[in-house]
């Protein structure tokens, strides 16, 4: 049991710092670049990403192992034992993500209008955020167990939040700096992201 817990903590820390969605894989860069002009909105979007990643990765794990994998349907009829539907994973994952986002939006609106006010506008944006689909695809590729998949989803979300809040804060400061004109906006943001990526590489040495 102790071994399992340390394993999970290791996956959590890895997914936040070492395999950070943005700095190691560039996933979710579109919204990362577009919504990082202000810290407050960045926090809102980051929280929504944590939430959706934490929900969709375990659900997609259940679907993958309960429906798509070879032999998963054997319980229904013995002749299904050799059916391997895992090539349908893409369409299954994206459908789950799109419908979960819609569902989460409706539930939040009903249960907590205050939270909806701050998160609601970001939720539709998230359905096509690469980091969400990326989370599910990494989960499939790395053969996680259900517990590992949930922890991995949450950790990746936290890593994404840290990245977008940090870049938003830096961009607010950089307005007062004398950046060469052609580099302003997109160019300098790329360079800063690169430097932050190098800083995050220092976590590589940590062995949990």
């Amino acid at each position: 049991m102790l071994f399992l817990a340390s394993d999970l903590i290791s996956i959590f820390v890895r997914s936040i710092f070492i395999d950070n969605m943005i700095f190691a894989y560039f996933l979710g860069m579109c919204s990362y670049l577009a919504v990082s002009k202000d810290v407050k909105t960045a926090i809102g979007l980051g929280a929504a990403v944590i939430f959706v990643l934490g929900v969709t990765v375990p659900i997609n794990w259940l679907l993958l192992n309960g429906v798509l994998k070879e032999g998963a349907l054997a319980g229904l009829h013995p002749s299904f034992a050799e059916v391997d539907l895992s090539f349908l994973a893409f369409i299954m994952f994206i459908a789950t993500i799109a419908s979960m986002v819609q569902l989460v939006e409706m539930v939040i609106e009903k249960v907590s209008p205050a939270l909806y006010g701050s998160l609601g506008i970001f939720l539709p944006l998230i359905a096509v955020n690469c980091s969400i689909l990326g989370g599910s695809l990494f989960m499939q590729e790395r053969d996680y167990t259900l517990a590992e998949a949930s922890v991995f989803g949450l950790g990746s979300g936290v890593g994404w939040l840290i990245a977008i809040v940090a870049i938003a804060a830096i961009r607010m400061k950089i307005r007062y700096s004398d950046v060469p004109k052609p580099l302003r906006g997109l160019g300098i943001t790329f360079i800063i992201t690169g430097l932050m990526g190098i800083a995050f590489m220092s976590f590589l040495g940590i062995n949990l």
């Binding site: 560039f26 579109c30 349908l88 893409f90 369409i91 994206i94 695809l137 052609p182 690169g194 990526g197």
Partner: protein, 220 residues
């Protein structure tokens, strides 16, 4: 007779001015990566080597052109409230096809690209072009738009991969380019190019060059 023919040809060139604009604009002034800021996600992670990058560029091109064409054919029958899910379905079917084809014919590259083939689905270029163009234009024009934008995407990621493979490992497409003699004189490969951050610096330099050449693209 031939005079008439040439006259007809002149009146209707292969590509009208508008069509040519659709093809050429996304290559520089309206480039999907450096100007529209779309499709950065998959653009950078696959660019450590030239070969997987070219495969990726071709795959994206196939998906963008075909999905633009299909959605444009259906544009009048898609209810606007559920258009996102219809678009996602079309895109993911095409991506599944691409993925299966890659697995069948270039398995090693498919392994190298790993999740990034699947991530073409959420590549903002595909959705972006469907929303911005295919939903409101005829199939022919949509195909051209798809070609233009995916070519704009392709040349950027191929340029990035070229720099990263050449300076990072001294090779191109797996063949050694920088001769041993140079290494013996003390030349060392640039390790920065091999880590993810290297891609960001290369693309920032491309943006810098592009915006210094064309100052109207500068941001305030």
């Amino acid at each position: 007779m031939s005079a008439v023919e040439t006259q007809v040809k002149e009146a209707k060139p292969l590509l009208s001015k508008k069509d040519r604009k659709l093809l050429v604009d996304p290559l520089s002034d309206n480039n999907p990566i450096t100007i529209q800021v779309l499709g950065i996600c998959s653009a950078l992670a696959v660019t450590t080597q030239l070969k997987p990058t070219m495969v990726m560029a071709i795959s994206v091109m196939a998906v963008v052109v075909l999905s633009n064409f299909i959605i444009s054919l259906m544009r009048n029958t898609i209810p606007s409230r559920i258009r996102i899910i219809v678009q996602l379905t079309v895109i993911s079917v095409l991506v599944i096809l691409v993925d299966q084809i890659l697995k069948a014919f270039v398995y090693d590259v498919s392994k190298q690209l790993s999740v990034f083939v699947g991530l073409i689905i959420t590549n903002c270029i595909v959705m972006g072009r469907l929303e911005a163009f295919a939903m409101g234009n005829k199939p022919g024009a949509s195909i051209l738009d798809g070609f233009g934008n995916s070519a704009g995407y392709a040349w950027i990621i191929i340029a990035v991969a070229f720099c990263r493979e050449l300076f990072g490992s001294g090779k191109l497409l797996g063949f050694q380019i920088i001769p041993d003699a140079v290494y013996e004189m003390g030349y060392v490969n640039n390790g920065l190019m091999l880590i993810p951050a290297g891609a960001l610096f290369v693309i920032a330099i491309i943006i810098w060059i592009q915006r210094s050449l064309n100052t109207k693209l500068e941001e305030a």
